[in-house]
Point group: C2
Chain length 577, copies 2
Amino acid sequence: MKASQMYLYTLREVPAEAEIASHVLLLRAGFIRKLAAGIYGFMPLGTRTLHKIENIVREEMDNAGAQEIQMSALQPAELWQESGRWAAYGPEMWRIKDRNQREFCLGPTHEEVFTDIVRQNISSYRQLPVNLYQIQTKYRDEARPRFGLIRSREFIMKDNYSFDRDEEGLDKSYWNMYNAYSRIFDRCGLTYRPVEADSGAIGGSGSHEFCALCDVGEEEILYCESCDMAATAEKADVKDAPAEQEAEKPLEKVLTPGTKSIEAVCDFLGIPQEKSIKALLYQVQVSDDDPVKYVAAFIRGDRQVNETKIVNALDIPEYALTMADEAKMGAVTGCVGGFTGPVGLHDCTIIVDSELVGLKNMCAGACEADHHLINVNYGRDYKGDIVKDIKLLQEGDPCPVCGKPVKKAMGIEVGQVFKLHTKYSVPMGLYYKDENQQERPVVMGCYGIGVTRTMAAIVEQHHDDNGIIWPISVAPYHVVIDVVNIKDETQMNLAEKLYEDLQAAGLEVMMDERDERAGVKFKDADLLGIPIRITVGKKAADGIVEYKLRRGGDIVEYTVEEAEQNAIDLVNAERRG
Amino acid sequence: MKASQMYLYTLREVPAEAEIASHVLLLRAGFIRKLAAGIYGFMPLGTRTLHKIENIVREEMDNAGAQEIQMSALQPAELWQESGRWAAYGPEMWRIKDRNQREFCLGPTHEEVFTDIVRQNISSYRQLPVNLYQIQTKYRDEARPRFGLIRSREFIMKDNYSFDRDEEGLDKSYWNMYNAYSRIFDRCGLTYRPVEADSGAIGGSGSHEFCALCDVGEEEILYCESCDMAATAEKADVKDAPAEQEAEKPLEKVLTPGTKSIEAVCDFLGIPQEKSIKALLYQVQVSDDDPVKYVAAFIRGDRQVNETKIVNALDIPEYALTMADEAKMGAVTGCVGGFTGPVGLHDCTIIVDSELVGLKNMCAGACEADHHLINVNYGRDYKGDIVKDIKLLQEGDPCPVCGKPVKKAMGIEVGQVFKLHTKYSVPMGLYYKDENQQERPVVMGCYGIGVTRTMAAIVEQHHDDNGIIWPISVAPYHVVIDVVNIKDETQMNLAEKLYEDLQAAGLEVMMDERDERAGVKFKDADLLGIPIRITVGKKAADGIVEYKLRRGGDIVEYTVEEAEQNAIDLVNAERRG
């Protein structure tokens, strides 16, 4: 397309609200426009790139045997009541009533809808497996929408759902999608890592997140260079310290005035933090009508707690867990702010990190102001209602698989594959009959790719100070032809020839023949991130043009034919993959 | 794709709620699924056809110089408050609040959003014209969603908006879109008629509806076979009867006991209905807080009223006009149910059809029970607050252009082109500077195509008792290969060869190798409406297959090569247009 005809408006200045490169550059290059917090529109170039990503996703889904459908964004509350999620979903769900006061939500995800569709047809093992996908608009009313397309409130997702007869089938579907995702993100030019992930509020177990690695990512990843271990911080297992063999000494209460922190009490008593027990006090309330319940969690003093593991141990939605009001909790449970320990607590759920079971003669709060207990031992002095790994894996900790120190990286979650098992099929009645006429629940998986988020992740990984550097596969145009002097007929004629030739060869070409200085055109070409720039200037009379790759490298003088051939070869090589 | 791998579920029975062919057949053929009243999902075949229609629209929009963008469905209330439509839109708008109680709607249309986008960039005549489109999901909470995709509450629309410097530019944009629409509906295989249309609540003037002609359409079209006149019933002008020359006789009140209808009083008095005046009593309330206002409209006794013309004459939203509570209205205005006439009415808006001005010595209600006035004359005896054509054009009436009797047809509105003029640019501050630095409002047009409704309209026009008959351009697959006996290796091998060959030639092929009787496959092929059916049966050993067009004609025996060539030629001819 010719730039003079394009709705093309770039910004010189960095928009005030934008903090990260993808947000800044997608706004500056005019790919997106903000309509409200977390709500964006896609302008012509943004729409082109969006469609390219969608088409990569579509091709790989089709190749993997999934079939495309398209469901509505409006979903009746009744479906979510069947699965139990209408009450459980929390404030991220956009809820709406129609003119007859019937309740709907704007779908944040489509497990219920797809389960409902499939249960209308599937009754026999002969009809399985099924894998259906859609590329569709999703809605989540984020508490803090931010980073442009990374965390928005209306966004485009590819989501699909697999339906199998058993766990073996699910496993096949799962790895089929895992492999398709790898191809998709490869083709999008992303550097990513599939990492083991927590199952979160969605339930079930067995999940990988595909994380595009970059410093501004919100997802913390722990990985091991000695083995294959890679997991989100939320999910990562932590190896317990070995059990200690020392003899249990008598429990003793000691005066520890003003030592409200682990650091303070350990300093005061002259013991290492590994010999202390840290208390974390929570309250749980799933819905406003429920009474508040209290939870005390205990881990080794030098550890950090992993609240996702606590949420999972309690089997509650994430939003239901908040820090306790210590005064109120104290009145009920006997805890004392800064001096809470597991001995003497009552009327609350006690979660003990698995590691503490084997540690001997620990120091813990005495549930009495200015006092601690020493020589506290699990089993003899206290017990947990729940004993589980609730620790956070941290950089340098031993790898839970091989024991070598783990490394940390940040990533943007661009995709997730997820084993749902029978979480939806059982409550929603999606059963099939096997060869023996036995009724069995269908075994499901769900799989998501944040299409608009992927666009932002690509920019995070592919940009420099001057702008975006699109991979050819998702660039809005392959080539930009910059005409230095549009009043020079020779230049314009040569540019037109290039424009026609390259398009005839199947390339997508933008010709910048706006009445602007060459410097403005070069700056815009860099900002927009078009992979190949061909400049038609003074040497047009000799049939010579300048050829430059946005990704770097020198400006090369080529004959028109050479420039064309280079551009065509480069784009075709990319298409062959 | 192979049918055994497809998510393909057809219904033998007619779904209870479906009344018209497109609704019945799209459900029965498994193209769509109902999720809630007026809310549908698209299954694999439906999604394929949907994408084909979208791509026809996209190509023709691109060719016409419009640029694709994609805005959000969620729209902040503030934009609609600027245009004044937040209060005016009525109960069809889905309204929703976010977690911070900020108000949004689910866009029923995007005039405000596009005006807002463009005003952020456009400041000079040099930047005009602009034409931006999107293919996007729209929301209207219809009071009576029905007919499947014809009148639904979540649906897909192509909408675009043109921005010009003056009326001349708008006119060019308007006819450019008009022509693009003609190409789109031609390519979709629709028999349609562009008809002059009322501007409705959206405002402005100058509009055409593109109506797909069919008996179940909700749009009444009046057209003339002698000239080009074609208009919706709402819009169509009506020629006034010629003014009468007779002398005005003295006004007289007569006793007409029990003659509440025009028919009754004219019979009673022995006069033709053309000599009587019919009264229509309305009340107007734009919002719940407003006081009710009363309106009396008068037309010649044998005419029908056109309420759209009344709404336009009063400049109110359509929903604000309802039939009056006659008792309440009588107490305020002096009207008397069945005996209301224009003489003596007070405290209401009187609208007089333009035709009545020239008619002499008419009969009208006396605003007194069991009495009428005769020899009523406009000017002498009564006047209108508004005098306008408020008549409905009816089949057989003289054409308002050439005077020949008009004909009537029903149609489904699949598209509309619309001159907005400065309706949005003025209140929303979209101005540009002309060559003389003079600020002028941008002159806008808006254009819509109901993409999902078009799908239904195609089915209405292309079906028979056995199912859908898709035009090749929008068929989910071009060819279906039915294998009579899948256990016969020769048949399967030949079918596979056909399948591979046709796909290699760029055709979209479905191979029905399900373990079903041939009769089931034939029935499904007819129901699904695939344009070309090739049956591989007993003569496979001789390389002979059966070739049949869904649109009709005989089953022909062809060699495989002949069948392939015929199919390829037919599809390619369609593609060349």
